[in-house]
Structure formats: C-alpha cells, structure tokens
C-alpha cells in the first residue's frame, strides 16, 4: 500500500481544516476522549432535539491528521441524523475499520460511504487504528452519557 492511499487529499484537507472544530452552544451531551500514547485528545459536544435528532455536533481537541480528519468527517456526517441511526453508523464504521471490507448501513448514502471509506487506509497500519477510532468511541460515550472519559490506554 502506498502512503498516499492513507494520506488522501480529503484526509489532509479535513486534517488541516477540520469541520465543526468549536464548542456547541447549549449542548446537552458531551464526552472526552484521550489517546495518551499518541497525545491525541478530543471533546465531543452534542445537541439533540426533543426527537433525539442531532441538531448540532462539534468537537474540540488536537491530534494527528488521521484523528482530526476522522472527527471532522464524522461530525459532518452525523449532523441531522437520529440517535439510533448515529449508533448504527458508529458500529458500522468501527466494524469496517476492524474487519469488514465495506460499510453496510442503509442509513448511509453512497457519497457518505465514499467519504468514510477514505479512512479505511488505516487498516494497513494497526498502530494508527486508534487515531481513526478515538472520536467515534467518544461519540458513543457522549450519546450513552456514560460520563466516562474514553482512554485508549487503561491505567490508574
């Protein structure tokens, strides 16, 4: 695999100019994620409306191009979706990064799938998978309101 397949233009662009890198006013759910080995950190803010639809989603944090691009693409794509749909998409994405050759969810449009598949290059770089999945795990934590900081390394 060529390095340019990992660092595709869309990843570099999102990494450099991440969408939704701010803090949502009046958010009603949030969670923090941390990858201490790499030094990536992310704080996800969600605003769900009364029908549990994502009215707004944003994030703060810093990290490598892969982690920033992943958070950027994720927040862009999740906006306007319902909570249950979000969960399905998160699981689909994590499944794809882990083992599935492609995305299966019917909640995703073709162009959305294409965008997410740009991140599939990390599969070839096991040490970098955590970078791509951190914001997704953190989103799940925010939705479930676990109040637990996602940490890729456990410890005391």
């Amino acid at each position: 695999m060529n390095i340019k397949e990992l660092y595709q233009e869309i990843i570099l662009e999102h990494g450099k100019n991440p969408r939704n890198l701010r803090k949502t006013d009046n958010f009603n759910k949030d969670a923090k994620g941390n990858n201490p080995l790499c030094g990536d950190n992310v704080h996800i803010y969600l605003k769900l409306d009364e029908k549990n639809k994502v009215e707004d989603i944003s994030f703060e944090g810093s990290g490598c191009a892969i982690s920033m691009a992943s958070a950027s693409i994720m927040t862009d794509l999740i906006k306007g979706k319902e909570e249950l749909e979000v969960k399905e998409i998160v699981n689909d994405f994590l499944g794809m990064i882990k083992e599935n050759p492609e995305l299966k969810s019917k909640k995703l449009k073709e162009d959305e799938k294409t965008k997410l598949m740009c991140l599939s290059g990390v599969k070839q770089y096991p040490m970098r998978v955590k970078c791509a999945t951190l914001s997704w795990h953190t989103l799940t934590s925010a939705i479930d309101n676990t109040q637990e900081e996602i940490n890729t390394e456990r410890g005391d």
Binding site: N2, I3, G39, G63, I66, R128
Partner: protein, 406 residues
C-alpha cells in the same frame, strides 16, 4: 574505525523495509544486535544449555561459569570495584524498582523526599510514585531549562533536609542532555543523600566508570547496548547490597530454609531469585566484547560527529524545530514540524524505510512542560552514518510535500 565494516556485523541491515534500505534511527528505544550476540543465544541453547547455579553436572557447571563470566565482563566494562556489585535484572525498569522497593522499605518514611528531574523517563518516576502512595513520601522535580538541560544548580535548588535520594537520568532520551553525574553525586554525598542514576541512555553512548562517578546505584538496559531483550543490570555499591533487604523471594536467593527461619544467599544471589534470563546474560558478554572491540572513545567520537551533522541539517530545514539545545548532547535528536503531528511524520518516514519514534517517549511530564503532546525522535547507534541523516532530511522534506508545507 570503519563504520561500513561495523554495519556488516548487523544482519538487520540486509533487510529491506518497504523495498528501501533500512535507516534505523530508533536506537534509544532499542538497538539492533550484532551477529555475534544473535549466534551466542542460539549456540547456548543448541549446544551448551543448562540451568545455572544449582546442579553439579558438566553442563550446569559450564553454564554457571559462562553466566558468571558476563558478570565479570560487566564489572570490568563499567569499572566497578567488585563483581558482586553487578546484579542481573529483567531490565533497567526492574533495577529501579528493586531499589525503590528495598531502599524504600528500609530507609524511607512519610514526608521523606525523593528528588528526580523533569527529564525522567516514566520508569524513573512511577516506582517512586508507588512509594508516594504506599508510604507517603514526596517526589520533587528538578527543573529542566529551555535548552532541555538539568543543571546542578537546578538540582541544588530542590534539595532539602528531607531529601533522601536523588534519582536522575545520565542522558535524556528526549533532549539528549548529558547530566553532570559526578558533580551531582559529590553534592548529594556531601549532604548525606544517596544517588541512583538511570543509565538506560548513558550506558550505550558514554564511558562508564563507577569508581569515578561514585554514584550508589546505576541502572542499565542491555537491549539498548546491542544486547538481548529481557535483561538489565543494577550496579549497586556493595554496602547497599549487603544492607538492603532482598527484593523477590524464591529459589536461588536463599541459604537455609526451615519452617520458621530463612536465611538469604550471599551476593549476588540474594537479588537473583528464580531462574534468570540465562541465555541473555551469556549472550550479553558478546555485546560487551563488541563494545570493547569498537572502543567507547570511537563510539563517543563517531556519535558526536553525527549529532553535530544532524543538528546542522535539521536546523537548516525550515519548519523543523529541534527540541532542546544542550551544550553536551548525546545521541538523540527530537523534533517537531509545525503543522504535522509526529505520528503522521513517523508513518510517512516509515514508507521510505526510515525508522524513528513518535510520541512522548515515556516522558509525559517533559512534554507537558514543553507544551507539546508529542514529538518525533531520531536516535543514533554506532551503525548510523551521515547518509542515514541525509535520508532522514530527504524523507522529512517528502513529508512536508505530502502535507503541502514549504
């Protein structure tokens, strides 16, 4: 000294990485191994294997002699007074844990202070943290200056009446700063303070002379010294090994065992419980032989030349920012590139066969102080050349190109 010939002793360089020649710049993490060390592990298992120090048959006696031979070689290499001042451990980490446990158990009480520095690797902080939790001791940090050094003045500033032990690195694995250990030890001893040196980075790159440094403890990581993994050395002054309690209990470390009484073995057995990393110890003798053959003066000279060259070309490369500027720098060049995260740098360099480390290098406190989450680190060994550093620079430029930086 001919580096090309030295490189030929390391079979790893016959391999290609992503179809490129390997440019190995991660020796501070772990060094590559010469063929003699690799062969020794194999030969010992294949032709001479037995456990040591127990049975009296032919193989056991021969293996025991080989095992003890390495102890003598290490004693000579680091210029220790006595071969029983050399204790084998599973690594430098265990060596420091051994001191924290035994010294902590016998001599430290609530309110006592351990002085470390902001440069320390986690393995020279976490063992003391355990004592902070279990005994209520305090940990003080001597400050690192903007050049990435810890001066003797910075150490002196943090010494109080309660300081019992100073535990410091010989050579920083991030900034490359070499600390004035001899002077620090003199200062500490004048105030009755014990000194432990984390020699993980010092041992592969500097002349070791325990009589001259005069520290109380010196921890060594063998796999960073062209030796096998799973092995470390704790040098400790004999007085300490005699005074301190044993670390782990088990076979090999006892003299007499009854239902209500146990006496411990003589040095060095008292600290080597259970079957040790026998093949690794025996192979480590070949690492010492390799280091002696090359000569520490040649190693120091060669690596100094490389570090100066590396600094020169990286300073010229705009957007590369070197971490620290110590007057006395060992074989480490850490850097950041504005706009590219160190993990991205490392992944992209890897494609060219250039192996560096990215992250906080087990020094989170230092990175917090520097205000960066991570850095990229190129570290050197005796097999590196100026060509390796040129390739590093080329690959950094390629990385900048991918990220559209100038």
């Amino acid at each position: 000294m001919n580096i090309e010939n030295i490189r030929k002793e390391f079979p790893i360089f016959n391999n290609k990485v992503h179809n490129n020649d390997l440019v190995y710049l991660d020796s501070a993490n772990s060094s590559q191994k010469p063929q003699s060390v690799i062969d020794r592990v194999n030969d010992f298992y294949g032709k001479e294997f037995s456990n040591v120090g127990r049975s009296v048959h032919y193989l056991a006696v021969a293996a025991t002699n080989l095992y003890e031979q390495t102890r003598s070689s290490v004693q000579k290499y680091i210029n220790a007074n006595d071969k029983n001042e050399i204790v084998f451990t599973k690594g430098a980490t265990e060596a420091i844990n051994l001191v924290a446990n035994t010294f902590g158990q016998k001599y430290l009480k609530e309110g006592d202070e351990i002085l470390i520095t902001e440069l320390e690797h986690h393995s020279n902080y976490v063992p003391w943290h355990f004592l902070r939790k279990s005994k209520g001791i305090k940990i003080e940090f001597a400050e690192c200056n903007s050049d990435g050094e810890v001066t003797i003045e910075a150490i002196e500033k943090k010494i109080t009446q309660k300081t019992k032990l100073i535990s410091i690195t010989h050579l920083s694995n991030v900034t490359g700063a070499i600390l004035p250990i001899k002077e620090i030890t003199e200062l500490a001893h004048s105030k009755g303070i014990v000194v432990l040196v984390d020699g993980c980075q010092g041992a592969p790159h500097l002349k070791l002379d325990m009589k001259d440094l005069n520290c109380d403890f010196y921890a060594i990581s063998c796999h960073k010294m062209y030796g096998p993994t799973g092995l470390g050395v704790l040098y400790a002054k004999k007085k300490w090994l005699e005074e301190l309690p044993p670390y782990q209990g088990g076979g090999g470390m006892i003299k007499e065992v009854t239902k209500d009484y146990i006496s411990y073995g003589d040095l060095p057995n008292k600290y080597e419980a259970g079957t040790m990393a026998t093949a690794q110890v025996i192979a480590f003798d070949q690492s010492i032989k390799f280091l002696e053959k090359v000569g520490i003066e040649n190693i120091v000279h060669h690596e100094k030349e490389l570090i100066e060259y590396g600094q020169e070309i990286l300073i010229k490369n705009n957007s590369v920012k070197l971490i620290g500027n110590p007057k006395n720098r060992g074989a480490v060049l850490s850097f950041t590139i504005e706009g590219i995260h160190p993990h991205d740098i490392s992944t992209i360099l890897d494609e060219d066969g250039v192996a560096i480390r990215a992250g906080h290098h087990c020094c989170q406190i230092l990175h917090d102080k520097l205000g960066i989450p991570a850095s990229a680190r190129a570290s050197l060994g005796i097999y590196n050349t100026k060509d390796d550093l040129d390739q590093l620079n080329l690959s950094i430029n390629n990385c900048k190109k991918i990220f559209n930086l100038k």
